[in-house]
């Protein structure tokens, strides 16, 4: 490290400075942080590492190779856009949290060993929760706690996995881990635990509800931060540790399909985007699971593009939320009249995610599709094609249509503030640039790119797919078969822990109370008198928590001694 800082440190120092400043100075400072970080990253000598010795292991705080650098660049760009978008926010907590969060994401992807990864993994969890807390309602507090518990649990599972992995391999370096068959060996347990931890962070179906629960609940600007980092760190971790693991192809396919059905019927447009996010990550996980150079390139470049266009869509919805106070489809419509710029940028995001030629989604997603068919996954290919049509429906049409067009809600909010427009404009520019001139992105990919996106054939088939997907929607709409936007809550897998589990534990408690009452009546007054007597003697607190009389302590001691002696003489 010749005079350069560890990349995450730039953000952490920025966070410390942001905590000490306020007003315009803090705004200026925050914009400078990703720029300074970018300069630091640019001048970072190739293949830099920063090592530290701990126990018998080598910690590698910084590892700069092609894969980690691409993600680091992406996170710098995303951080700049998100900070610009949130520049009008006066909340110090969110400012500091945002920088720590972005820095942790950079730290996580540049971590060369698993323990460093774990630290940033948990930092991501802790710093991001403030965006949800900042809504300030009792509702968002509960959401934030659910989010935090699941995120921290993911880290803890990761740590347990790391321990097994380190024991089995003698190393904590974060390279390819692979997935051995589960035979109860330390290596297998380690790999599976690490994989499950990443699955939680990546919001793989049935581990995903923290995302669809929390992201729509965060602040208008917070969701933009949230959408950029957490899940993409997980995608990076999969690409680094589990490339070519067959299971991922299946999981990714399910993940690309599962959310699109929910997205169709969801009323909250930011929740639609959350489902859309899962769907896009599904594509990436398929690419990682296929594991060829082309597939990995596709997955990684799609992650890059997704951060920008999904960020753009979340920003446009954030602007709508900021101006109207809602993102419910049933309450919106017709906003293009007074928010033309936001509408335009949202459309660029919609075109990009739909993978329209010359927009960014096209140049990356098609790599994954081609890899799927070339590597002999015909069913997966068909499923992804289906999912692509689904993307057009929920992200390409539904988001802009219900917010900005559709029936006129009568609302005439002001155009978004300048800083929001600039941020959206920048993201839109990146979408179009990467879509029309993908070569710079391609050059930054981990493997040499031997892929031509703009062939007549690719463009034709994509246009066919898109045009007829839209036609189908139009047809359904005209015939009145398209589902209306209804204010509602669609239950998903979170039902298990938000309804079923409390119900079951409630039932168990009720049963226990019932049994106890039964016992009391059967045992007559004697039981309750003893209980009352015990409670009177021992105070109102819990069993072990209350102050016990000395004699009771002595009793425990005697009991333990008695038990041992019994063993000795048996």
């Amino acid at each position: 490290m010749t005079g350069n800082l560890a990349p995450f440190l730039v953000f952490y120092i920025g966070a410390a400075l942001a905590a000490l400043t306020s007003g315009a100075l803090r705004s200026a400072l925050m914009l400078c942080v990703p720029l300074a970080g970018a300069y630091n990253l640019w001048t970072l000598p190739p293949s830099t590492t920063l090592d530290l010795q701990l126990l018998d292991y080598t910690l590698q705080l910084v590892r700069a190779d092609k894969l980690s650098l691409l993600f680091a660049w992406l996170f710098h760009l995303a951080a700049f856009i998100a900070i610009l978008f949130a520049l009008h926010v006066k909340d110090r907590t969110q400012a500091v949290a945002g920088l720590v969060y972005a820095g942790s994401a950079v730290g996580a992807v540049m971590a060369g060993d698993l323990i460093t990864l774990f630290v940033f993994w948990e930092m991501l969890a802790v710093s991001s929760v403030f965006f949800i807390l900042a809504r300030g309602s009792a509702h968002s507090y509960a959401t934030a706690m659910r989010y935090l518990i699941i995120q921290v649990a993911s880290g803890v599972i990761l740590l347990a996995g790391i321990l097994f992995h380190a024991k089995a391999t003698g190393s904590i370096a974060f390279g390819s881990i692979g997935l051995p068959t589960f035979d109860g060996s330390a290596a297998a347990i380690g790999a599976w635990l690490i994989l499950i931890a990443i699955f939680i962070k990546a919001a793989v179906p049935l581990f995903h509800n923290w995302l669809t629960d929390a992201y729509p609940e965060a602040t208008a600007t917070g969701t933009v931060f949230l959408s950029a980092f957490t899940t993409k760190v997980a995608v990076y971790a999969l690409a680094r540790g589990f490339a070519g693991v067959d299971l991922l192809v299946t999981i990714g396919t399910i993940m690309a399909l599962y959310p699109i059905f929910f997205a169709v019927i969801e009323n909250d447009l930011r929740r639609v985007l959350s489902y859309s996010m899962m769907n896009q990550i599904g594509f990436m996980i398929v690419g990682i699971g296929i594991g060829t150079n082309l597939a990995i390139n596709g997955a990684v470049s799609h992650a890059f593009n997704d951060v920008i266009f999904k960020g753009l869509l979340f920003m446009s919805m954030g602007a709508v939320l900021y101006r109207t106070g809602t993102t419910k489809a049933s309450e919106l419509g017709g906003l293009f009249r007074s928010m033309p710029w936001t509408t335009t940028f949202c459309l660029v995001g919609a075109l990009s995610i739909s993978a329209v030629p010359l927009f960014s989604g096209f140049v990356s997603k098609s790599m994954i599709m081609v890899a799927a068919i070339e590597e002999g996954h015909p069913l997966v290919w068909l499923a992804l094609l289906f999912a692509s049509a689904g993307v057009v429906e929920h992200a390409g049409i539904k988001i802009p249509y219900f917010a900005f067009f559709a029936h006129d809600s009568g609302q005439r909010p002001k155009e978004a503030p300048l800083n929001m427009l600039l941020a959206m404009g920048l993201a839109a520019l990146v979408c179009i640039f990467n879509g029309a001139y993908p070569w710079i992105l391609y050059a930054a990919l981990p493997f040499p790119v031997d892929y031509a996106p703009f062939t007549f054939e690719h463009i034709l088939t994509q246009v066919q797919l898109l045009a007829f997907a839209v036609l189908a929607v139009v047809a359904l709409h005209k015939s009145g078969l398209y589902p209306d936007e209804i204010p509602s809550r669609n239950i998903d897998a979170e039902w298990t822990y938000r309804k079923a589990l409390p119900a079951v534990s409630g039932a168990v408690l009720a049963l226990a109370t019932l049994t106890r009452r039964g016992v009391e009546t059967i045992g007559g007054k004697l039981v309750s008198r003893i209980e009352r007597e015990l409670r009177r003697q021992n105070g109102p607190e819990g069993y072990f928590g209350r102050d016990w009389p000395t004699g009771f302590m002595a009793l425990w001691t005697t009991a333990m001694l008695g038990a041992y002696l019994l063993f000795a003489y048996l």
Partner: protein, 108 residues
């Protein structure tokens, strides 16, 4: 391409809509037209139809590499996309019966 839809309700009562906006003058903005006026909506729709038609013809002009056996089918992509959306929407509507709850479902 993301805006090629007409609100179905607009065809139900065009007279009422026109009456509501009669004061707007010559251009007669339609409250139910998604782009402000019916004519703008129609332009977008016609463009969409044109693109769709050209892409259909393109299938016979440009040679497609066949990776999946179904791809050999003429007009495979338009067909698959159209059917996909129909299947998706109808299964999602069915899903609603299973999962839709009042908005305050979890708030107790």
């Amino acid at each position: 391409m993301a805006k090629g839809q007409a609100d179905p309700s607009s065809s139900l009562s065009p007279a009422a809509a026109a009456a509501a906006h009669g004061a707007d003058g010559a251009k007669a903005a339609d409250k139910h037209a998604i782009l402000g006026t019916k004519s703008r909506d129609n332009i977008v729709l016609y463009v969409l139809y044109a693109i769709a038609a050209v892409s259909l013809i393109g299938d016979f002009v440009i040679h497609r590499h066949v990776g999946h056996p179904w791809e050999a089918l003429p007009e495979f992509y338009p067909l698959y996309a159209f059917v996909s959306i129909i299947v998706l929407i109808f299964s999602a509507k069915a899903l609603r019966k299973l999962v839709m709850r009042p908005e305050d479902y979890y708030d107790d």
